[in-house]
Symmetry: C2
Subunit: 126 residues, 2 copies
DNA sequence: TTCCTCGGTTACGTTGAGGTATCTGGTATC
DNA sequence: GATACCAGATACCTCAACGTAACCGAGGAA
């Protein structure tokens, strides 16, 4: 009796230039995505709160980035019928699986920022 | 008898716009850095091999990115006195600590690429 | 009636990361 | 002498992401 074997996974590899996973990687590492995902990790936020949390982002860019995250199924946008309008943003299930890896990278940056900066100083001193 | 307490760490936070850790995060998430770090994770590579491994990168951009990684103490460049020239690139100790987080993100992208793409298809279909 | 808030939109300008194409220096090989 | 190899360097250009500033509509409050 032979077992039913699952077909081999399509072998995504970001190192191959045409692999779709590369564009996915690029999207989740663009300028604001890690910061937004990071901010949403602790729960839903309204547009205004999110804007305050992610320091320095303009409303235009925040809207654009949120729309692309919504498009890729990482963020859910919920509009309340109130006035003034209330719009909540939260991570989807898929988005939540991204939060871990993002946090890992965020922690690395925060923990090694000094090491990187001092390496840069040493390099520039020569 | 009181114990000597270490001073509290400077509280780097990528969500604050002026925090140096944000530029560090941005650097390690730029277009080619994750791919290069990924390629170097298994050991040193020569310029040409690295170029083959990271599909699609041009020599100019590879040189630029490697120099900035060297500057930040993440990559070590070793020139052999041979001819034709032989140049090896490898991760430093600091660079090696980055490889893990990068791999996590790379795996996420590869494992969830299909989910993202199909979410995008669904979104665009509406 | 005027003002305020929220969550944007729109038009426009900028810039810097990245791409293209061509060139280089030194050595060994044909 | 010509050619090939390696690891880039250089000049130039492009474009998409990002920033700036102003504006908007619905509704509730003063």
């Amino acid at each position: 009796m032979h077992t039913l074997t699952t077909p081999p996974p399509p072998a995504f590899d970001v190192l191959s230039p045409q692999c779709p996973s590369r564009t996915v990687l690029r999207h989740v590492t663009d300028r604001w995505t890690p910061l937004i995902v990071s901010a949403l990790e602790e729960g839903p936020l309204r547009f205004g709160r999110l804007r305050e949390r992610v320091g320095g982002i303009t409303p235009k860019v925040l809207t654009e980035t949120l729309r692309s995250l919504e498009r890729d199924g990482l963020v859910l946008r919920t509009v309340g019928p109130t006035s003034p309008p209330r719009v909540d943003y939260e991570l989807t299930e898929l988005g939540a699986t991204l939060a871990g890896p993002i946090q890992t990278l965020r922690s690395w940056a925060q923990e090694h920022a000094e090491a990187v900066l001092s390496a840069r100083d040493r390099y520039d001193a020569e």
